[in-house]
């Protein structure tokens, strides 16, 4: 099938027009909120730039080592981002190619399947990569300024980044097509869990620091540094695309233009080659995969053991499932309607692999980092660093939680969609439905956040009173962030959309993310300043009380008020 360029151009233009109108509608709906979002974006850029700039200046002060460390950080950062980009591309390409109504509509029209794939590939790449660009722009700007780079450094860096993002996009689309072709949901879930466990285990083993004695630190700093750098040497593997990007950027900064030219050409040739393959050879596999997905058949369907297992499952279909049994045992006094709602929400979450897959990834990585803290605790003897790391951990944990609450809790109410009347008309009423969702998500989140914060305190060998302080802080923050996401989810519902990521990308979802981040920054600062252990000398009691009151007020305003408004709306909801 030969691709018709006219079709691709048409699809791009019609979707651009849609996107532009969405932006216009958002702007017209609430100018104040739009302004807040733009301010947030500007604030993010400034804050991120300032942090990167200060960080790089700090590292550069290490005599003889600064440049080396910055360089290695570049390699490490781009290698990690490459993996995250790949994962993000797999998830987004899968949803966009196989769980998207536009794709189905287009397949029935006289458009070559290659063109449909090309359009969806471009759309997925854009959706998956914008955050990467958003993340690294302040870093590259900070690097450029600390190293007094001329304008052309930024131009060549932008070009290299654009070439770089093509590769994980192609890889992600290829994996998504093959996953769709050969795996049904169950096998994909099992594989994902296994891959996640193996990755976390490998990362834990690989990044486990070796014991370093004080004597070594005093006399053999270079040897210690060398060992540390050895651990990250894999990021300098010459066949990694992140290596080509990092080396290209660093070479240009050092005026080694020939080196940059070489790596630009390497990136360009790979981007062109794999991009060409994606544009010309993926139409047929995509169509086969699309047919397989909508036929519900899969590779496992050809295997006898799978049939036996499935027939065993269908025999058990009318029996009470294990989840319900567990909930009945754990919560014996819970009435049946609440139980039904809980079981439904947990099942829907579990059956949407992309949802818990991302949760696993986010908290898994944070868990690996915190577990490894114990190896550093010997070196973290300075109270300033212990204090700083403990609050940074609280911030990281809350930011992870905010990502999850915005991504998963916010769209919960909208996902009831056209079926909202089913739960709304049930005897328990919509208000209790919202309360149950809030309770379920808060308790589930607490299991994660409390676990991680407790672990962080243990790893940093904090005494019990300080551990309690962090536990109290994270509990309040978990309630607040869940209250905010649940509340805004009800206040800004989108019943038309069935794809949670699209619900989140709307106005309410963006607003939820912005407020969550602002709240976390405010809450962590207030808790840090209001910490009785913040300074060596005792903090004046007025400062402590002001901070605690500020924290409580902020949490009430951000979490409780949206939830209260949402409950009021749910009580008067018109179907």
């Amino acid at each position: 099938m030969s691709a018709t360029p006219g079709h691709l151009r048409l699809l791009i233009s019609v979707n651009l027009r849609q996107a532009w109108r969405r932006l216009q509608t958002a702007g017209e709906q609430n100018r104040l909120l739009t302004g807040v979002i733009f301010l947030f974006i500007a604030g993010y850029f400034m804050l991120a730039f300032w942090l990167f700039y200060r960080g790089m200046r700090f590292i550069e002060t290490f005599p003889g080592l600064g440049g080396l460390l910055v360089e290695r950080l570049f390699y490490l950062l781009f290698a990690s981002l490459f993996l995250l980009l790949l994962f993000s591309n797999i998830v987004i390409a899968y949803s966009n190619l196989f769980r998207n109504r536009e794709t189905q509509f287009l397949v029935s029209l006289p458009i070559p399947t290659e063109t449909i794939f090309q359009w969806k590939f471009l759309e997925s790449s854009l959706l998956a990569s914008w955050a990467f660009v958003f993340l690294i722009a302040p870093l590259l700007a900070a690097y450029g300024l600390t190293h007094h780079q001329p304008w052309h450094f930024y131009a060549i860096t932008s070009a290299l980044v654009l070439l770089f993002v093509v590769l994980p996009s192609v890889g992600g689309a290829w994996v998504a097509v093959n996953v769709a072709r050969y795996m049904e949901r169950k096998s994909f879930q099992v594989t994902l869990v296994l891959v996640a466990i193996v990755t976390v285990a490998l990362a834990t083993i690989w990044f486990r620091p070796e014991p370093i004695t004080d004597e070594m630190l005093e006399t053999r700093v270079l040897a210690v540094l060398d060992r540390m750098l050895m651990k990250t040497r894999f990021t300098m593997f010459p066949l990694l695309p992140s290596y080509w990007l990092s080396t290209g950027v660093l070479n240009w900064a050092e005026r080694a233009f020939t080196g940059t030219l070489f790596f630009t050409l390497v990136l360009l040739s790979n981007a062109l080659f794999f991009g060409f393959l994606a544009f010309t050879r993926m139409g047929e596999p995509f169509y086969a995969a699309s047919s397989a997905v909508h036929s519900r058949g899969a590779l496992f369907g050809h295997w006898d053991w799978f049939h036996r297992w499935q027939s065993g499952r269908s025999q058990k279909a009318l029996k009470i499932g294990p989840l319900e049994k567990i909930l009945r045992t754990v919560l014996p006094r819970l009435s049946s309607e609440y139980l039904a709602l809980l079981v439904k929400d947990i099942r829907v979450f579990w059956r949407d692999t992309t949802q818990w897959g991302q949760t696993l990834m986010l908290f898994g990585l944070l868990g690996v980092y915190i577990i490894n803290l114990r190896h550093f605790s010997q070196q973290l003897t300075n109270p300033f660093w212990v204090n700083l790391v403990s609050f940074l951990n609280l911030g990281a944990c809350s930011l992870n939680l905010a990502t999850l609450t915005t991504r998963f809790v916010y769209p919960q109410f909208s996902l009831e969609g056209k079926r909202v009347w089913i739960v709304g008309m049930a005897p328990l009423g919509l208000m209790r439905v919202v309360k149950t969702k809030f309770a379920l998500t808060t308790i589930s989140s607490l299991a994660l956040t409390l676990g991680l914060i407790w672990l962080s305190c243990r790893m940093l060998k904090l005494p019990n009173d300080r551990t309690l302080y962090f536990v109290f802080g994270v509990v309040v923050m978990t309630f607040t962030l869940n209250g905010l996401a649940t509340g805004l989810g009800v206040l800004y519902p989108n019943f038309r959309e069935e794809n949670p990521s699209k619900i989140v990308s709307g106005f309410g979802g963006t607003f939820c993310l912005v407020l969550s981040f602002l709240y976390i920054v405010g809450a962590v600062v207030l808790l840090a300043v209001g910490s009785p252990w913040a300074k060596r000398g005792a903090q004046p009691i007025e400062i402590l009380v002001t901070c605690w009151l500020g924290f409580a007020t902020l949490s009430m305003v951000i979490g409780w008020i949206p939830l209260k408004l949402a409950l009021r709306k749910a009580a008067q909801f018109e179907y």
Partner: protein, 248 residues
């Protein structure tokens, strides 16, 4: 115009369509009936090229949907029960978009739109965003966009869902006109009245098999009942169910 040869679709162990043979000539209005999960929508999806058949061939206007998909789809229009529309476009923009996808000239698009828009009473909505339209109006937009390129074969899955009696009548009239003019129409429906009133021939699919095909009178004779289509349908599907039970 539509030709299905030993069309089979299996979903793992389940056979959704079990070897359907059917030929619908040019200009025929063919209605397909069947209980839920009988295999009607799966058959239609294979005809529209949305899914691949496990075996067998589906041809549209002489073109194999799998090996000559573009030629087949150029001659085909398909409206599912819940059609996809771009919410942020207006109906007019959407009509132009689909016309352009079918590589129609601007003049042909306008001519087609000028004829169809008033007939479906879409003038008041033509420049309003689709997202604000009711289900019935959206359905009308989807039908107009499908008819715009004057397809040789028109496949509709439950076309009357969401349409009020007036617009259901308009659709029936247009379909009848087009059918007389040579368009082949293939409709899947649960509304027996539509099949009874409109169809030249009716097919009944049950358990993935085409258990009966013919005019209303032929089906009546085949079923042994002389009442309305409802009784014919119930009798034929009951016979098939009994047969399947005996074979088991």
């Amino acid at each position: 115009m539509i030709e299905l040869v030993q069309l089979v679709k299996k979903f793992g162990t389940l056979t959704a369509v079990a070897g359907i043979d059917l030929a619908v000539p040019r200009g025929e209005f063919f209605a397909v009936l069947g209980p839920n999960a009988a295999g009607k929508t799966t058959t239609i999806k294979m005809m529209a090229g949305l899914i691949k058949p496990t075996s067998g061939v589906a041809r549209i206007a002489g073109f194999d949907v799998q090996t000559q998909p573009l030629e087949a789809r150029r001659r085909l229009a398909y409206v599912p029960d819940f059609p996809f529309l771009y919410d942020k476009l207006t109906p007019w923009e959407f009509l132009r978009f689909t016309g352009q996808l079918f590589q129609m000239s601007e003049e042909r698009i306008r001519r087609g739109a000028d004829e169809l828009i008033p007939r479906f009473n879409l003038e008041p909505y033509i420049s309003k965003p689709i997202e604000g339209l009711s289900h019935g109006t959206r359905q009308r937009v989807a039908i107009v966009s499908a008819l715009l390129h004057d397809p040789e074969v028109f496949i509709l899955d439950e076309p009357m869902v969401g349409l009020d009696p007036h617009h259901a009548r308009v659709l029936k009239d247009i379909l009848k006109e087009r059918s007389i003019a040579g368009m082949t129409i293939f409709v899947s429906t649960h509304q027996l009245s539509v099949a009874e009133e409109m169809a030249d021939r009716i097919g009944i699919i049950h358990n993935g098999k085409l258990i009966a095909v013919g005019t209303r009178d032929e089906l009546r004779r085949q079923s042994g009942s002389d009442g309305a289509l409802e009784q014919t349908f119930l009798a034929l599907t009951a016979q098939e169910a009994n047969l399947a039970e005996e074979n088991r």
